[in-house]
Amino acid sequence: MYYPSQSQATPLTVVRRERVLPVPGQVLVEIGDRVDPQQIVAEAALPGEFRIVPVARLLSVSPRRAARMMRVKPGDAVEAGQVIAMRRGLSRLAVRSPIAGRVTASGAGRVLIEADSPTLQLPANLYGEVAAVIEGLGAVIVSRGAVVQGVWGNGAEGFGVLRCLVKSPDEPLLAKMVDASCHGAVLVGGTGLEEGVFERAVEMDVRGIVLGGLPAALLARARQTRCAIVATEGIGALPMATPLFRILSTNDGREAAVNGSMRLRAGVVRPEVIIPLPAEATSTSSTTEIGAPLAVGMRVRIVRAPHLGATGTVAALPPRARSIETGARVRGAEVDIGLEAPVFVPLANLEVLY
């Protein structure tokens, strides 16, 4: 038995997604609440600015004497300009807080003041219902719709109307395609994109770009871009896998949530596109069980050359290892990708689509 990696590409399913803060905070929704994409489900204070005030040095006294001159203690709220230490006597001298905030620590003749923190607000980014609350961190939202998972994302999130700008999955996204009709939209391309697309995307307030492969030279630029970017196949001039392109293009004009979050280790997170659908789906359209071993009939994607990006179904699982072009002998599967005969692919180079 072989347990391959899996990727979701389904036209209709029940979607359960955790929306979780990066740091503990406050959850603003309850189980059963209906949420829309812009609704804030949780918020948290992010680490803010701080100042270290060298009280002893400013008062020209020893740290021990400075301790006796303090007017504040850890935990106290302070205003900008508030006196935090005072030297009395003939040469009376006061030390004032440079910022508004809270005293976090004091000692060794200094005071650490942390400014009021900026608040991070986490939107639902989905239409759905709150199925569970994760104490202090977020919520699980259940929705229904199509899901397309990618492999690379730039970390940003967005929600907008899906606009398929190419006719086929091997067509690149060009700057001239991004016109006024793309304002606030999520754009779907095929293979790669022109660098000029990023500028046009900013001008048109584009919320997301989904494409097959992202050129390696544009990685840094893509990371700096505000709108969410998801590559479904990887880095390079790679056309989008046909089943994924079909799901996205057939939903042209519908709203879609793009999440470019990606983590490769320690809790893998895959970037994805979720298209909420009105259908009363109670079960997934996929027949593949999550975590199931590879079996004949499963829908798979090939992730290495010479058939990189091809999708098909497992036709057979030969019990013995076979030689491949490199000379290695490996276990593999025969995959029907629409050629005259099935192709032999190492098990390690298959990803199950569910």
Partner: protein, 593 residues
């Protein structure tokens, strides 16, 4: 087994099941006694299951063991999912199970010290002793500009480390700048409200300051103390700090990996980080060899590259947790440039294509090259990963008499090679050539391949059953890849520099003259024993006592045979791309790659 150390008698055990849970792959192998000797029986290899949908590393080990059951019919788990141990009649269970783990995230470290080239360099070597990533270095020597206390605190807070390692000051030396770092660390910790994410502080600086450091931290922050990494300007002592960091890695990272408790319950031996067990194995092999030379090990994994070296009884383990065949590629390309990798390719490849292929490996780390040009690229990457890890490791070694040529690798009896890219090289000659190109060994060396990636786990078994571990190592844990002879000296290309004669134990002999620039492979198959006679010319040094000195050596066969690497040290690649590619193709051809 004969060795410098006698081993205690122990009750003989039979079957051994070993597992290694790596970042990308989980492997299991079964070794068993057949006619009184250990033999490799079967192995299984599956993707690691630390992530969704499994989120439990024990599942991956079960799946890998399941593959062994498919081959052998032997059942290892009872109906309750417990490992059957010891072995029962009727092919059920095993006598001993041991596992190593490298799947967890590395320890995140902020390192502060006084001088970059002294205490900070020692601190870096201490951190490299375990799976760790030094995210920020704060040095007081002003090389990176003078940082205000606020900036120091900000950098520590933004790095969100697991541990702040403070070094600096010789014993009884500098105090004020070291204590300033402690104060900055304390303030940074005060900014982190959540006690669970608050970093620990490891103090391994001026030992006279320990009480003042404890007093400054005032029990608010967990403090660990280790020997000063630089007790004097000329002395380095990183082992105490290494041990503390390793213990933190085990408790904070490895111990929190989902499913690790289940695996721990199956094993009578404590689970060990793979790098530590690999180092233990290298150390152990040193005890079995010539004490005047070293033993070296390189393990190239999906997320880490480990170099372990034993010289004079002292083990030096270096873990580069930012270097792997899958993870860390983007940063590696930024730091060293793709050209460094491309220079090892036997055919032309545009830089953008190479970058795309390497970055996609990070996105699909379990995938393998299926076409030749992608195989060459992965093997080229392996060469650069090893070279890079060696650059980190070598300054910390104390090779003593084994260092016969400055700036070259010290004499090593044995080099253990491990990791998927080496163990799964389609032809053994490719694995051997990667190691020769990357490490550039000199003299006479035996390359030993950890074919199934389980030798570290066997090193772990050695803790409780040393005799069984040694027998199992001989019986399938490690296989001889090649014996390599590398003459060192100066000559013109094509000039004869060495005369080699192999006299096989079964009769017959082969004699060749080796020219400078050649890479020769002579037949010496696995299991074959022979006497090797070397006669160097032009004062070339083959590691038999000095320049021009020859002699005889007993050698054993290997998968590749006997390699004579007369390409010169340091190895020089031709500058012209097409000629260089032709040169590389020729070398591949020479070693049967």
């Amino acid at each position: 087994v004969t060795g410098k150390k006698s081993m205690p008698e122990e009750q003989r055990i039979g079957s051994i099941l070993l597992a290694d849970c790596g970042t990308v792959t989980t492997k299991a192998v079964l070794l068993d006694r057949v006619d009184g000797e250990y033999h490799f029986i079967a192995c299984g290899e599956v993707p690691t299951t630390a992530e969704f949908p499994w989120a439990d590393v024990s599942i991956g080990i079960r799946q890998a063991v399941e593959a062994i059951t498919e081959i052998t019919g032997r059942r290892f788990f009872d109906a309750g999912g417990n490992l059957i141990c010891p072995e029962r009649a009727g092919q059920e269970g095993v006598d001993i199970f041991a596992a190593t783990i490298s799947a967890s995230q590395p320890l995140q470290v902020v390192l502060s010290g006084l001088v970059r080239d002294l205490s900070v360099a020692s601190g870096e070597r201490a951190a490299a002793g375990t799976y760790s990533l030094v995210k920020t270095i704060l040095a007081a020597d002003g090389r990176d500009g003078v940082l205000s206390e606020e900036e120091r605190v900000r950098r520590i807070r933004d790095a969100a480390p697991d541990v702040i390692c403070i070094v600096g000051g010789t014993d009884g030396g500098a105090a004020t700048p070291v204590l300033e770092f402690v104060e900055a660390a304390a303030l940074a910790c005060a900014l982190i409200e959540d006690g669970n994410t608050r970093p620990r502080i490891l103090f391994a600086g001026n030992s006279r300051l320990r009480e003042r450091v404890a007093s400054l931290l005032d029990g608010q922050i967990e403090l660990r103390v280790a020997d000063n990494v630089r007790p004097t300007l000329t002395e380095e002592s990183v082992y105490g700090a290494q041990a503390e960091l390793d213990a933190l890695y085990v408790s904070e990272k490895m111990g929190r990996l989902p499913g690790v408790d289940t695996v721990s319950g199956w094993s009578p031996v404590p689970l060990a980080p793979t790098a530590r067990a690999f180092g233990r194995l290298v150390h152990y092999l040193w005890y079995l060899g010539d004490p005047s030379r070293g033993v070296l090990g390189v393990d190239v994994g999906g997320a880490n590259t480990v170099v372990a070296a034993a010289f004079g009884g002292q083990l030096h383990t270096t873990v580069r947790s930012d270097l792997g065949t899958a993870f860390g590629i983007e940063r590696f390309l930024q730091q060293r440039g793709v050209e460094r990798i491309l220079r090892w390719l036997p055919e032309a490849m545009p830089a953008e294509e190479a970058q795309g292929l390497l970055l996609n490996k990070e996105l699909r780390p379990a995938s393998i090259p299926q076409v030749l040009r992608e195989l060459w690229l992965e093997q080229a990457l392996a060469r650069e990963l090893i070279r890079s890890a060696l650059e980190t490791a070598q300054p910390g070694w104390k090779p003593g008499a084994a260092q016969v040529h400055p700036r070259l690798l010290p004499l090593c009896d044995t080099i253990v090679v491990s990791g998927g890219v080496l163990a799964h090289a389609p032809r053994p000659g490719q694995a051997a050539l990667i190691v020769l190109d990357a490490l550039e060994p000199i003299g006479i060396t035996t390359l030993v391949l950890d074919e199934h990636g389980l030798a570290p786990a066997l090193g772990n078994v050695a803790l409780v059953k040393p005799l069984a571990a040694v027998e199992a190592l001989d019986g399938g844990g490690l296989v001889n890849l090649a014996t390599v002879v590398t003459p060192v000296g100066r000559a013109r290309r094509g000039e004869t520099v060495l005369s080699v004669r192999i006299s096989y134990d079964g009769g017959g002999s082969v004699e060749v003259e080796v020219h400078y620039g050649d890479l020769e492979v002579l037949p010496l198959p696995p299991g074959q024993q022979a006497t090797l006679e070397l006669r160097p010319l032009h004062r070339f040094d083959v590691g038999l006592g000095g320049p021009g000195r020859g002699g005889k050596r007993r050698v054993s066969g290997g998968l590749v045979g006997l390699i004579v690497d007369a390409r010169g040290r340091p190895l020089r690649l031709l500058a012209h791309p097409e000629r260089r590619q032709q040169q590389l193709r020729q070398w591949l051809l020479d070693v049967g790659g």
